[in-house]
Symmetry: C2
Subunit: 297 residues, 2 copies
């Protein structure tokens, strides 16, 4: 346990200082080559720690893509541990993009792996996948709330294959009786309930959602009612994936990087567009500054 | 690439020799204590490798629960690498229970992490979670099919919180036009299509599903039509979780551990009921033999 402020409060403060951009740490082999690094654990570690060194103090949130460390096995996870330790030491917030999801004591294992104070992979927040139900993720939601950390649960992603699950219609309980609701919306609603039960203290707004930036690529809105969420929104899809800062403003109504419609910071993610500017630290910072300027301009 | 036989064929052969039981390798702190081991990476490694040493040659499939290694960070993954290497050397099949799921190059990273021949964590099969759509899992399905490995995609789990997603109604295309189908069934149907396209060679039946053993605990059937799957079915919930061998026979119609209704082996999973018999290798083998006897008797 800890007395640190809530993840939402810390993220809100960081967004206020630096702007809303979250930078993905995606050590793809192609990006490593562009930095003159080999696609091995040493190259991944230099790349990821280089991003932290260049951007700590200049960006609100860093998002390591866990798959691209895990592909190298334990050596890759060791590189991620060192990267996360650097970020902690430098005071920059991190969200481990791991999309974990399980039940019971197994879910509790994933929660402790990423959200416990003494975990080697301790991060400020963790992404989760709710195919087993948002309720099954409770061990992670509860640990995040207790330790001033956060979770971002997948609600709506922008890939076309997702509709068969996320746009399916589920029965939910409502004050007026059972009614049908889209799966993606029912995820948002369940997290809103969690946040409503943790209004004060380290758990305030600890439950966020992942909502892909769909408007730019498909012309559709995300179609979600985020007004009651009371937590942050992580928005992948900016830059190389086709979304623009104007799309963010259009979809989330937070052109100033402030709380947005969801009541927590709306944090767009870019990886490739920033990372291709490296390895020069000044160029990385300039790319971040340009994107934050476009997002808040 | 490899010329090994398909995962389904190898699993079918192993089930024919040993019986259908899959043993979970779940290094929970409580089980470690029962074996006289500490809940650290060394204890986890001794536990997991002890299970492999005792049961290789006596069980069809071993299922390490990745969360319980990951909770120890890179040191835990190193223990898992050594466990998987022991299993490869001993010729016992493994399924890494990681429930991974993402899109695009990130999903390809997870696929390579667990299903590539030269991966430190290479396993014979991997569990996947389809909240982003079964189509998004294609990099793993394709790599499994190419390398004679398998995947087990979550379809129906037995935890009550899952219904809001897995029992939601999705629009699907059908020869007679669009119709509504349960998400869990649409997952099965998408994998059946994949298997139909890989009838011969190393990809035969490479796409399996995870279907929880619900009957014993809830009185409900899984409610899925598995007849067209053409792949294996992994069935958690035996033993400590409340399901019985009779429930397996009732729900999957495969009392002899043969192909079952799905056209691939139906493989029930037990962890605690076997593992509490350890660390004595003979006692572990006796527990496996008793369960296999009950499943095929």
């Amino acid at each position: 346990m800890t007395s640190r402020a809530s993840f939402r409060a810390r993220l809100r403060d960081a967004v206020g200082v630096h702007g809303p951009l979250c930078v993905g740490i995606d050590p793809h082999p192609g990006l490593l080559a562009g930095w003159g690094l080999d696609p091995d654990a040493d190259g991944v570690e230099r790349f990821a720690r280089g991003v932290v060194e260049a951007l700590a103090g200049h960006v609100a949130l860093l998002k390591p893509q866990v798959a691209l460390f895990e592909v190298l096995g334990s050596a890759g996870l060791r590189a991620l541990e060192r990267t996360l330790a650097d970020a902690r030491d430098a005071g920059v917030l991190t969200v481990a993009d791991a999309k974990r999801g399980d039940i019971g004591s197994t879910m509790a294992g994933y929660a402790r792996a990423w959200l416990a104070d003494d975990a080697p992979l301790a991060s400020d927040a963790l992404t989760l996948s709710p195919y087993l139900g948002v309720g099954a993720l409770a061990p992670a939601l509860d640990l995040a709330a207790a330790t001033g950390r956060g979770v971002f649960v997948l609600a709506r992603t922008s890939n076309p294959e997702a509709a068969g699950v996320q746009s399916a219609q589920a029965w939910v309980s409502a004050p007026t009786g059972r009614r049908m609701r889209e799966v993606a919306q029912s995820v948002v609603d369940a997290l809103a309930e969690h946040n409503a039960a943790h209004r004060d203290g380290p758990g305030d707004g600890s439950a966020g959602v992942v909502v892909g930036l769909t408007r730019g690529t498909t012309g559709r809105d995300h179609g979600l009612d985020l007004a009651g969420l009371g937590g942050p929104v992580l928005v992948p899809g900016l830059g190389a994936q086709g979304g623009t800062p104007a799309d963010v403003a259009g979809a989330f109504g937070a052109p100033d990087g402030a709380l947005g419609a969801a009541g927590g910071p709306v944090v767009p993610v870019s990886a490739r567009e920033v990372l291709t500017a490296g390895p020069d630290p000044g160029a990385l910072r300039a790319a971040v500054g340009a994107l934050n300027g476009a997002l808040t301009g």
